[in-house]
């Protein structure tokens, strides 16, 4: 009863083709944006914002990237971590050489570099598919990881061997670096994520998104309809890596503030983002947010939540239990609902159409 579409008739095609054709959905999105932009900054503690919200947004962005190539186009990529790294290092070098340019521009521009590298490593996808392609993306992952460590120019020859994030300002307010407050960083990331989600939604709802899904579902038929496979797959890789690159740049500059990059962009990270996409829902933008939320909350709960309510857990043990839970969740979801949380959400909305009168 709450979620009714009756009475909402579409008189034009453009009305029918809106991303959120139902009024209830539009209201929902408005509420979410309001909560994100106003409520959380007002009520959330700095700790909450820096440990929960900012990473959540970063992961959601990375998940979007992976979802584009794996969920929408059906090309398995295990190189997500590495592509994120490319973005981070690209941003670092760009802002080192041109410190006057606003950092947000460099964060977005760094995506172009990871897009190029992503497309390069996506070239094999014309001849290989499925798990073979996954192994090819591992080549990207390990090679790029090696580059991050062995090419000192990338980290400006720092003694630490890692990116040391410089302080950058927007309108006089420090946005990156040690003096930037969580609030400022939160707003910048929120802006970036909202913008990029809007763009992704536009592209995926149009001709390009349909081409991606056609290639995923039946590439032979797609080819025989005139969709050129290689350019489409390369575009998928490029677009996906763009998003991963920007996610990596935001991770370094707006979340970590510099640190052991070898941890942040390794194969483990690739797996975690893949899990977020699987659990959230392959082929669903909103699923990226669900997946990122769930898979980020668990370790946070284990590390901070349980001790807060009196159950002490050693750091290492929390890691182990995290592994167990995540692995178990994956298997559970694949068995019960392979389309992930996004499908569960759809089903909930379906039920809301008739609640409280199920018959």
């Amino acid at each position: 009863m709450l979620y009714r579409e009756s009475g909402q008739f579409k008189k034009t095609y453009s009305a029918d083709m809106q991303v959120f054709p139902l009024r209830e959905d539009r209201v929902g999105i408005a509420i979410i944006l309001f909560i994100a932009a106003v409520v959380i900054p007002l009520t959330g503690s700095n700790f909450f914002i820096s440990t929960v919200m900012i990473p959540f947004l970063v992961f959601a962005l990375a998940a979007m990237g992976l979802n584009i190539v794996t969920g929408y186009t059906g090309l398995i990529s295990l190189g997500t971590g590495a592509f994120m790294g490319v973005g981070a290092y690209a941003c670092y070098k760009l802002t080192t050489y041109f410190p006057g340019v606003p950092i947000v521009i460099w964060i977005l521009a760094s995506g172009i570099f990871s897009a190029a590298i992503g497309a390069l490593f996506g070239l094999p996808s014309l001849r290989i598919k499925g798990f073979y392609l996954a192994v090819a993306t591992l080549a990207a992952q390990f090679f790029l990881e090696w580059c991050f460590v062995r090419i000192p120019w990338l980290f400006n020859y720092n003694a630490s061997g890692a990116i040391e994030v410089p302080t950058r300002w927007i309108a006089g307010v420090p946005v990156t670096g040690p003096t930037a407050t969580p609030m400022t960083r939160y707003y910048v990331i929120l802006g970036i994520v909202v913008l990029m989600t809007w763009v992704a939604s536009n592209i995926l709802h149009g001709r390009i998104g349909r081409s991606f899904m056609a290639v995923r579902d039946m590439d032979i038929a797609a080819e025989l309809m005139g969709i050129r496979l290689l350019p489409t797959k390369l575009l998928a890789f490029a677009m996906s890596s763009f998003y991963c690159g920007v996610a990596g740049a935001t991770m370094m500059f707006l979340w970590y503030g510099g640190g052991e990059a070898s941890d942040a962009f390794n194969i483990n990270q690739s797996f975690i983002i893949l899990f977020m996409v699987i659990i959230g829902g392959l082929g669903s933008l909103i699923g990226c947010f669900f997946g990122a939320a769930l898979l980020h909350i668990i370790p946070v709960m284990l590390k901070f939540g349980l001790p807060a309510i009196g159950i002490p857990l050693a750091g290492a043990t929390a890691e182990h239990i995290n592994h167990l839970l995540v692995g178990g969740l994956i298997i559970l979801f694949l068995i019960v609902e392979p389309h992930g949380l996004a499908r569960l959400w759809q089903i909930t909305k379906q039920k809301l159409r008739t609640w409280p009168f199920p018959y």
Partner: protein
């Protein structure tokens, strides 16, 4: 809807010349030649394993023959490329419905319009603007097809959920969306009951009459073949054993022995 080409009805639209296709040691097609005239319905029949689907795949460019040439719209090629076939107006349906199971009916048919959609990546980023205008124009065209095939009620349904007969109809719609000059149908009526078959026959005839599309049709139901087609090619074990009007072929002894059998 009829494409402007220098080929008029009755002329040869497609010619297959001495085509042979092998997979390792298996000879799928051996030295087969026939032609398809513009505006006709050409049936390709024969027992299972005769090479009928392989023949369509060769015309499409999915398989590349070892020998022989394909002449389409006057241009002769040793092998067809899928993209060339599609952009030159060859569309097809498949024996085992090859729909995009993750998308709705509407989206599936919209994919058929992809070749005709020209808005650039840049405008796609914003969606509103030139990209939207183009999308609406194509949507209009797709709705005509949906109307024509009477599938309005399942527009938004994910095709995986549709019954088999409706899936085949959606597949036909997707092929039609390409505004093809040559439509290749691979057993479009397989697995349908009488009513569905009649509907499909009606649609095929309407496609020929309304849009002037040339149709090549693989079909096992002899009644359908006799009623619908203008000319028939009969294949057996990869070779052509008869070629002519339905009546000629029906009376051909070789065809009767291989395929039709006699009335008891």
């Amino acid at each position: 809807m009829v494409q402007n080409s220098t080929i008029s009805p009755g002329d040869t639209l497609l010619k297959v010349d001495h085509v042979s296709l092998r997979f390792g040691g298996v000879k799928a097609i051996t030295d087969v030649s026939f032609d398809i005239r513009k505006g006709e319905i050409r049936a390709i029949i024969g027992p299972n394993g005769a090479g009928k689907t392989s023949m369509l795949n060769v015309i499409n460019g999915f398989y590349h023959p070892q020998d022989g040439t394909i002449t389409y719209k006057g241009a002769t090629r040793a092998k067809m490329k899928p993209y060339v076939a599609a952009s030159q107006g060859i569309a097809r349906t498949f024996q085992n419905v090859a729909l995009f199971k993750g998308m709705s009916t509407l989206d599936n048919i919209m994919v058929g319009r992809t070749l005709k959609m020209k808005s650039s990546f840049f405008w796609q980023i914003f969606r509103h603007g030139p990209a939207m205008t183009e999308e609406i124009a194509h949507r209009r065209m797709v709705e005509e097809i949906i109307d024509f095939l009477e599938i309005e009620h399942i527009r938004k349904v994910p095709v995986g959920k549709l019954p088999y007969g409706l899936q085949k109809r959606v597949e036909l719609g997707r092929a039609l969306a390409m505004e093809p000059e040559l439509l290749l149908l691979d057993e479009p009526m397989a697995g349908m009951n009488l009513e569905e078959k009649e509907d499909m026959c009606r649609f095929i005839l309407d496609v020929k009459e309304q849009y002037g599309t040339t149709i090549a049709l693989i079909e096992h139901d002899m009644g359908v073949v006799m009623d619908l087609s203008d000319r028939v090619v009969v294949l057996e074990y990869g070779r052509k054993i008869a070629d002519g009007t339905p009546d000629e072929v029906k009376a051909n002894q070789a065809v009767i022995d291989a395929y039709l059998g006699v009335a008891h």
